[in-house]
Structures are given as C-alpha cells and as structure tokens.
C-alpha cells in the first residue's frame, strides 16, 4: 500500500480557518519574541503549505527521513517562519519551540537548516539554490524509480535568478514528471524587475503550467494532486504578501520586520 504509515490529513476538516489563524498567530509571536522575521513572506505561502501538508505530501513527522516520503523544498528560505509554523503544527517539533526562532540557542534560523530542523529538506537562503537542488532530488528519485515526488516553492523575486531558469531547462529536458515548482507570485519583485506572464515562460521551457489563486484551498489542492507523466509542473500561485493580516498585506514596510511588543495585540486582532 503506497501510503502505508504516512499521516493522512485532509483539507476538508472542520475548523480549518481557525487552525490557520492559530498558525499565523504562532508565527507573529515567534517573530515578535525574536525581534526578527519575514512574516509577510511566510503568510504569502501559508495556505499553500497548509494544503501541501494536509493531504498532498506523504510525510510522517516521526520519520522525517523515511525514503518513501515526498520531498518539499522551500527555495525562498527567508519565509522560514511559514514552514516552521506548519512543521510545528504537524508535529515535527513542539510548537513551543517556535518561540526560540532566531535565538542563539535555537535551531530555527532566519533561513532553514536541513541539518538541524526535522522536515527541512534543504538549507536555503541564497535565492536560486533550492529549485535546482529539488530538481537534483527529483532526478535521483527518477534514477531509483521511486514514486516519491518533489515539490518546491520559489518566490517571484527569486525568479530573477538565472539558476531558476537553468533548473527549468534541466527539469524539462530530463522529463522530471515527479517535480512540481510552485511560484509564490505575490508581485513583490515587480518593483525591481517585471516577470510578466510566468505561465507562458514556464510553458516555453517545456513545463505544464496551472495558474491558481494561492489562497483558495480547493484550487491549490486540485493543482497539486499527483498526475504522473514525464513533464514537470509549474503552479503559478497568485498570492498576497502578508495575506491574513490587513496591516501587512502588500505593505513593503513589513517585508523584513518584527512587531514590537506594543504592536503585537493590534496585529493579532487583525488576523483572519
């Protein structure tokens, strides 16, 4: 049985909105305690991460290195609070540990470290590294004839990096049908370099593409369902940076900023 032993949560359970609001609260509190964090980047991808870890990715928090697991790479590593929030919620480590974020004694860094944090597959932070690493993992799984898949999230700003497009060429050429790349298209990179029609760009590199609302769980889930085949898949997820906290939404001031103690309650009260 393919999924034997893996956690099987679904996206349709009741109380889902409250659960995500709780994760947002944990993230804001962790950043506030640390005085550090890219909260808005984490909120941009939180719905996608939630769906990935509730019914899409084969994973087992008790066996984070199980060879049969699906692999997830957060290429935009500065959104580490997002993956930490989800991994804690899934039980990879205790939720209380979130409050050690970015501390000298903690293991949850401003960018994730695969040698420290269970469930983190790749140490990312330098943009443009995670996607080709994920492609290498997919290539390795293909050589082994494994049925595990690899999913990575890149940021739209990260798509400025040439290595992203090098990886896009490689993945199509080597027919990595087990590889999915989600672009967190929150347009924060537009101020520097407009990317335009990302679906068309990925298609021209030989990828299947789907464009979705990156905060609509049904659309996210439908796009991520396993399909097989030999063509890598790009999901262009239209997202809102800072989604779920009005003050932060599309507000560049919150790109890299932690709430002060006196700001905390007002921000928490805004969470949706």
């Amino acid at each position: 049985m393919k999924d034997a032993g893996f956690v099987s949560a679904t996206v349709n359970q009741p109380g889902i909105e409250a659960q995500i609001r709780g994760i947002r609260e944990n993230i804001i509190r962790a950043a506030s305690t640390a005085g550090e964090g890219h909260i808005a980047s984490a909120f941009s991808i939180l719905d996608i991460l939630y769906v990935l870890y509730h019914g899409i990715l084969r994973h087992d928090p008790a066996r984070p290195q199980d060879p049969q697991r699906d692999r997830f790479v957060l290429s935009k590593g500065h959104a580490s609070l997002g993956i930490y929030g989800i991994l804690a919620e899934r039980g990879f480590f205790p939720k209380e540990e979130l409050n050690t974020f970015a501390s000298s004694s903690g293991r949850l860094g401003g960018h994730p470290d695969s040698r420290k944090v269970p469930g983190v597959e790749a140490s990312t932070g330098s943009l443009g590294h995670g996607m080709p690493m994920a492609a290498g993992m997919a290539l390795g799984l293909k050589i082994r004839a494994s049925d595990s898949r690899v999913v990575c999230i890149v940021g739209d700003g990260e798509c400025n990096e040439g290595a992203v497009w090098e990886a896009a060429l490689l993945a199509a050429h080597h027919q990595l049908g087990n590889f999915t790349c989600i672009v967190d298209y929150n347009h924060s990179g537009d101020r520097a370099l407009m990317l335009g029609d990302l679906s068309a760009k990925f298609r021209s590199f030989g990828w299947e593409t789907t464009e979705i609302d990156g905060h609509d769980h049904e659309q996210i889930r439908a796009a991520l369902e396993p399909r097989g085949g030999s063509v890598p898949r790009a999901i262009i997820a239209n997202t809102i940076k800072g989604h779920g906290c009005k003050e932060m939404e599309n507000n560049p001031a919150w790109h890299h900023k932690a709430p002060k103690a006196e700001e905390l309650e007002a921000l928490l009260a805004q969470l949706t």
Partner: protein, 293 residues
C-alpha cells in the same frame, strides 16, 4: 591525466552504482563509452554550472555520489556560492574535477585561466583539495576519496611529472631529507623542483593533498625554519597552512607561484612559466636566497 580521469571514473561507475557523472559539456567524446554503459548515471548536463552544482547537491541528498567535471573557472568561480552553501554548509559529499587550472589554456586568455581555484576552495570549510602530479596518482587519490562524504576538488593538470609516487590522501611524501632549507611543492611542479635543486642539500616535501594540509610532515621536516614553497597556483595560496603548521617557530618563508595579476598574453603554458618566473633556474635562485638568511 584527463585520459586517466576517464578510465578511473569508468571503473568507479562500474563498481559503485551511487556514482553519477555530470559533464559541463566538456569531455563528452572521451566519456562516450560510459554514456552507453550507464545512460542514467552519465549525463552531459549542459553549460549551466550553477544549477549543475545544486542539482549535484540534490543527488547527494538522495544518496548518490555526484561527480561534476568542467573547466576550472566554470566549476569553481562560476558556481562558487553553490559549492559553499549547497555542499559546504550542508556537509554533503561530492566530487568536482577541473581541468585547465592556472594557465593550462594559455592561448584562450584570462577568462579561461584559473590560478585562484585552490584559494577559493580553501575558503569552504570541509572541502578536500587534491592536486595530483601524475595520472597514476590521480587514480590512487580518486579511489581513496571519491566517497569520502566531503566535497572534494580534484585539480587536473595538462602537465605531469615523469614518474608517479605511491601517494596517500592527506599525507605529504618526503622526497628527500637534507640539511638545507625545506622545499614544499605540489603536484605537477615536482619535476621542475627536483631539476632545480639537483646537487643541493634541500629537504623536499611533495604534497598532492593540499587540504587538509599535512602539518605533521612539515613540522617533522622543517629544519631550521627556512621554507621555500613552490606552488602551481597563486603564490601564497599555502602560506596560511604553512605558517599555521609551524606556529610558534621562527621561520623564513619564501613563496613562489603564479603572480596575482591577469596574464594577458597568449601562447603556451611554457611561455607563462617563463614570464611568471617559474622555471627551474628561478626556483634555484629563490632557494639560494634562502641559503643566506
């Protein structure tokens, strides 16, 4: 040496199914048999070095032993951050095999020169750096280290010494022991050092592993602290390793290697040897200087 690299790699591919070879669109014809025999594990990955190193890291994460081969500046300088973060920081094992170190490709100009490769690679904690001086030494050292679990850099040269030594990873060879200054040399520079110091009473230490540096052999053969280092890459590359090995000891260190400037002439490597002052007569002159210290 390149021919031996192919032969050794073919053997490792046969013996160890974890080995995956990624060629940066060079050496493709030389690997034609390996492509046929191991189509899934020998890939002409293309001319995209940064992604290739990251892809290699992904393969390493899946339990493979990647081997990436291209010309030195494209392996080391183009993809340096990928080597640093994806392999060094993540402590993954992989092999990086370059050709064209320093000015082997003299006629192609400065874009293809790479005397700084060893200095750069030394800056990545955990990296092993191997500079063989003979094809048989390459075979021995690759066999000893390809699965070490570290990022390992092999610097192949177009030139080699006349005969091979029974080299061991991490160990320097004592070529001879005398009462004069101690000469430290590396890989393909051994023959010219031997020629230069014929008839002298020099101690000669031969390094094919540059990192980790065999401090112990130097400590035991440093004599009165007069040291001449003759290195086939940027001059001073081994200075920190030598001074650290001999810390607390009074030393007189003289280094000679490729000068830290762009070599804008073309021609052959022999021409640059002369222009850079790296001929046996130049080495002898430096050695004689130390006799008066």
């Amino acid at each position: 040496m390149r021919k031996q690299f192919v032969t050794t790699t073919e053997r490792l591919l046969d013996e160890d199914e974890r080995v995956v070879v990624l060629l940066g669109d060079i050496g493709v014809f030389a690997f034609r048999n390996a492509f046929k025999k191991h189509p899934q594990r020998v890939l002409n990955i293309g001319i995209l070095e940064q992604a290739t190193v990251s892809v290699a890291a992904g393969l390493a994460k899946e339990g493979f032993i990647p081997l990436f081969h291209s010309i030195a500046p494209f392996v080391v300088e183009r993809a340096f951050e990928q080597i640093k973060v994806d392999f060094g920081y993540q402590q993954l094992g992989g092999n990086f095999v370059s050709v064209g170190g320093s000015y082997d490709y003299a006629a192609l100009g400065c874009s293809h020169h790479c005397p700084g490769d060893v200095s750069l690679m030394q800056a990545v904690p955990g990296v092993e750096i191997i500079v063989p001086g003979h094809p048989s030494e390459l075979d021995a050292l690759m066999s000893q280290t390809y699965a070490s679990g570290h990022p390992t850099y092999y610097r192949l040269s177009e030139r080699s010494n006349r005969s091979a030594l029974p080299v061991t990873f991490g160990k320097a060879e004592v070529i001879r022991s005398g009462k004069g200054p101690t000469v430290v040399t590396v890989g393909p520079f051994l023959d010219r050092v031997l020629e230069a110091l014929d008839g002298t009473d020099a101690t000669i230490l031969y390094y094919t592993t540059v990192t980790p540096f065999d401090a112990s052999t130097l400590q035991q053969h440093a004599g009165d602290g007069r040291i001449l280092c003759v290195e086939p890459f940027y001059e001073g590359t081994l200075t920190a390793s030598i001074t650290q090995a001999l810390r607390g000891k009074r030393i007189a260190l003289s280094s000679m290697g490729v000068p830290r400037q762009f070599l804008t002439s073309y021609g052959h490597a022999d021409y640059h040897d002369r222009a850079c002052g790296l001929l046996p007569a130049d080495i002898r002159a430096r050695y004689d200087e130390l006799l008066h210290v």
